[in-house]
């Protein structure tokens, strides 16, 4: 089977910048019904990044699983022939994951894993990975956790994906990329100026963001792997809210060079930006539909911010949100059916809400008081956002049904503007 570890280890090796403090993750609310699973220590494995420990932590962090503690295990099989399913029925495990390592002389290793249904004894999935570098061990664990998650839930896992976010300590800003579990953060950009609206390209190779240079707003597109960056837009006035098209060829953004903040689309190969909206009101925060046909955006043309959409090729604009007097910062779900927004809840602050585009039903998922910047996980199952409380800013995730919540924070730093990477990435 094809494994994406090659680009991942490359990324880890090539990325410039010092490693920063890990994001600390805390599950603040789990699902009512969790799936019990036993993840057995791998043969020939150990240490702080033991595969079974990372896999178990991933599954537990999803809020959907309950991982049987090591000390409750009645046996520790690493091969199918060693499994006695009665041991796992006794501890009420529904699923059993086992595996083993095969160290090589050159320091790399191979690994195998298998997943069983305890009730039926059925082997649900398994795989072998050869020539894994030690530096890629956590990546391998996330990948295995993704395969286990998908075999059990039918939904592709996101443990192997990454998140980008902005940290602020005093007047020092950093754009960082970390694993979805908050580990292995790397600094992509360090600046004394604010960094806004980082967003991934659909292939995961680039981040686009807005910042300032010499008291001017500028938009850059930067290679995640090499750090090389290209100034995309520095017109007079606003240059902000970049959004890369699903096919990677264009960037939507907000410019005010023609007077009022409007939505424009630029061809990344060159040429002048094309103006999509022309209204004296504020139009900003463009977001592409996954099929590339529409651009959703925030406009206050009705008096307060609401979400509108316009065909990406130009055309009539139509209003999308009608609930409440404040809806901003749209983000489309990967299947294009749902729209996450920052929803002003009257005097009760700002919360993340999801609008089902077919039924027009709006569901408020979070409690505020100052939630912002929603971004969908690439499997559409969760949203990551910024939760501001008092002076603190941390990242938080909420499952799409509102049941599972986590907080991801770094002590001493404000953390904001999260963007979840796509599944696929690499050269």
């Amino acid at each position: 089977m094809r494994v994406d570890l090659r680009w991942l280890s490359l990324l880890l090796l090539v990325l410039a910048g010092a490693a920063r403090a890990d994001l600390r993750i805390e599950i603040t609310q789990g699902a009512a019904q969790t799936i019990p699973i036993a993840v057995i220590p791998y043969a020939n494995d150990g240490g702080p990044d033991a595969l079974h420990a990372v896999i178990g932590a991933d599954l537990a962090r999803s809020g959907q699983f309950r991982v049987i503690p090591d000390d409750q295990m009645l046996s520790r099989p690493s091969e199918a022939s060693q499994v006695d399913f009665r041991d796992w029925k006794l501890v009420m495990a529904q699923y059993l994951a086992i595996g083993r390592l095969y160290p090589s002389a050159d320091g790399s290793f191979s690994a195998e894993f298998e997943l069983f249904n305890v009730a039926s004894g059925e082997r649900m999935t398994g795989a072998r990975f050869n020539g894994v570098a030690p530096a890629s061990k956590r990546r391998l664990a996330h990948h295995i956790a993704d395969l286990i998650y998908e075999a059990i839930t039918g939904v592709r896992g996101v443990f192997g994906t990454q998140i980008s976010y902005v940290t602020q300590v005093g007047s020092s800003y950093e754009l960082q990329v970390a694993d979805a579990d908050g580990h292995s953060p790397t600094t992509v950009l360090r600046s004394q100026e604010p960094i806004l609206s980082p967003t991934w390209s659909a292939d995961g190779r680039f981040l686009a963001y807005a910042t300032y240079a010499n008291r001017r707003a500028v938009v850059f597109r930067q290679s995640v792997a090499t750090g090389a960056r290209q100034q995309v837009s520095a017109f007079p006035g606003l240059n902000g809210a970049p959004a890369l098209s699903p096919d990677g060829s264009r960037m939507a953004l907000v410019l005010s060079k023609d007077g009022s903040p409007d939505i424009y689309v630029m061809d990344l190969a060159g040429g002048p930006p094309r103006r999509l909206t022309r209204h004296y009101a504020i139009d900003t925060e463009p977001a592409w539909s996954p099929d590339g046909r529409y651009i959703y955006f925030t406009s206050d043309r009705s008096g307060g911010p609401q979400i509108y959409r316009v065909p990406a090729s130009g055309g009539a604009e139509e209003r999308v949100t009608f609930d409440g007097n404040y809806n901003a910062r749209p983000a489309l779900s990967p299947d294009g059916r749902q729209l996450a927004v920052v929803h002003g809840a009257g005097g009760r602050g700002y919360r993340i809400a999801v609008l089902d585009l077919a039924s027009r039903r709006l569901s408020v998922l979070t409690d505020g008081p100052l939630d912002e910047s929603p971004s969908f996980a690439p499997n559409g199952q969760a949203i990551i956002y910024t939760a501001k409380t008092g002076g603190a800013e941390a990242l938080a995730t909420v499952s799409i049904d509102g049941a599972v919540r986590q907080r991801l924070g770094i002590s001493q730093a404000k953390v904001r503007e999260p963007a979840w990477s796509p599944f696929s990435a690499g050269p």
Partner: protein
Amino acid sequence: MKKLLFVCVIALTTVAVAGCGKKSTTRAGGEASASTQAGSAGSGAQGGGAFGAGSGTGFAAGSLDDPNSPLSQRRVYFGLDRYDVGEEYRSLVEAHAGYLRSSPSAAVTLEGHTDERGSREYNIALGERRSNAVRDLLIALGASATQITTVSYGEEKPAADCHDESCWSQNRRVEIVYTAR
């Protein structure tokens, strides 16, 4: 052309700037510097408006550094989600317009800011609205467009770091930053 002298606003207690043009006030800069003082809210008769309707009255060299000059006032504050320049700031803006008129080599950057509520990019756009409002007023009062650039930081650079209206009102502002004199 619009009348350049404005109705006196006396009951200004929360903001530091209380420029207030009396109709009888002359246009001499020096008088104003004696009467306009940061924090002297409610003192009524001040000369801030004197600079605005100028016929080219110059400012003494160094007046930008004079804490008693209205030019020392470089912040215009705004209401929630508003980007109109309040009457109480007209005289302040007039003073800067007067300086820019009398010093063609001078240049300012107008930094627009918002409070922390709402989405960041929307706030960037709102901050630009505020800096544009001050720019348009400066130009209407005789400053040259070439002397003025604008930038919006939205909620990114708050002046006051707390999380209620006492700070939010200080953060909804335009800062007039001289980049050349």
